[in-house]
Symmetry: C2
Subunit: 249 residues, 2 copies
């Protein structure tokens, strides 16, 4: 019996800034059923306030409290550990960290930095970690799809620095079980009564499986034929987010 | 009984273009003993011809046949497999591949591309591999030291693309056992009678151990305190390349 739903955003509700077909209907449907839900995302190109505005502009009327982001989890981590991070993150996200001390860094936060993933910046992060700075990763996704093209996400760059320095990153956001636990706590429903709907077989579906959630893989976003066979048990795949909601309830 | 010696170049014989202390004496010593030797390197910033000239300019008088490079092993691989590589390699190395067909690529060669490791180039390599192109790596080193600074080597970027695409790269150069076998064949001496002298605990020493060679770790180059404890069995560490040669013979 599903009593709460987590939605991934990019590739499930939105394609870039555009609404994906039936995404508004899916949210309306569970709003009408009065079911608790959260939109959880590793998207690290903009602060939560902008994500909420983008969803509202696209026709999905949600509040800030409905949205959990991996960057906010990373921010919580450095604040609670008194760390001064070098932030190798997307320019659009910098404002989310404007109130965090960043001079004389003793930690590295790495997110989807896009064009700022260059050799100079990566070496800077690598040298800090080689000297012992902890590496905090905003998500561990392999890649994402945007306007028809595939792009490397933060995950591969996290792997690169982990390998270079023989360290293990603290992963915030999906697929971290800690992150799922945090979001579950906010709606006070047990894992097995919550389902996640996502387009990323690793970050979303494998993450949900590891955290004990139900899940549905959608054929939108970054989905590629055969992705459903990459998890154990195999993912249940449906056409889009509305089909997922209908299948679950 | 050691009957042949392999030398790493960068950090063992040279620091950048400069001769490291006693490096010329070490080579002269084994030349006088008439012992077969090879200089083997993953350095992928220049063609073999320039490496040889650089060594000669620094005062080490060797011939092209003494030098085995990872880029040449990668080139052999794509030629023997009829592949057309996209070469994400250092600008200084491009001339080594000038006679290899590279249009409409169906493979990726990745080396220490330095500043050409940018998001656009990495995404290009990633997309080819996502579509099934094999990834051929020039070495798998974690990092190198140059003029007092540490720099990420090709290895971390190989890891990044392997993780992004769920593939495994073909590694040419150290620490590939195939590469060591190839160099051993050229001097016709058994692995257990050959020793490798290197400054990289992974690429050199662990590689030598895996291939059945003796080895000595030098405290020059990228050596960092405690590196010798990172292999099983522990590496034997000496001050420099001359001490290594004297210790071995």
């Amino acid at each position: 019996m599903i009593e709460g739903i987590f939605f991934d955003i990019s590739g499930v509700l939105l394609d870039g800034a555009e609404l994906l077909p039936n995404a508004d209907k899916a949210i309306n449907y569970i709003e009408e059923k009065n079911l608790p839900y959260r939109l959880i995302t590793n998207t690290s190109q903009q602060p939560r306030s902008k994500i909420v505005k983008q969803l509202q502009d696209a026709g999905i009327n949600i509040l800030e409290e409905h949205v959990y982001t991996a960057p906010l989890a990373a921010k919580d981590y450095v604040l609670s550990h008194n760390l001064r991070p070098y932030c190798l993150i997307h320019r659009g996200l910098k404002s989310e960290f404007s109130d965090v001390v960043q001079n004389d860094p003793n930690a590295v936060i790495i997110g989807d930095a896009a064009d700022d993933f260059n050799y100079a910046n990566l070496n800077h992060a690598f040298r800090l970690c080689l000297e012992g700075a902890p590496l905090i990763a905003i998500g561990h996704n392999k890649y994402f799809k945007k306007s028809g093209d595939f792009f490397m996400d933060a995950g591969p760059f996290v792997e690169a620095i982990e390998y270079a320095c023989d360290i293990e990153a603290v992963i915030t956001g999906k697929p971290s079980v800690d992150f799922f636990s945090q979001v579950l706590a906010s709606i006070q429903i047990k894992a097995e009564q919550v389902a996640l709907i996502g387009d990323d077989i690793y970050g979303d579906i494998q993450g949900a499986i590891n955290a004990g959630l139900e899940s549905r893989l959608v054929r939108t976003g970054k989905y590629r034929d055969g992705d459903e066979n990459k998890t154990k048990p195999k993912a249940i795949v449906v056409n889009d987010v509305l089909a997922a909601v209908e299948d679950l309830l």
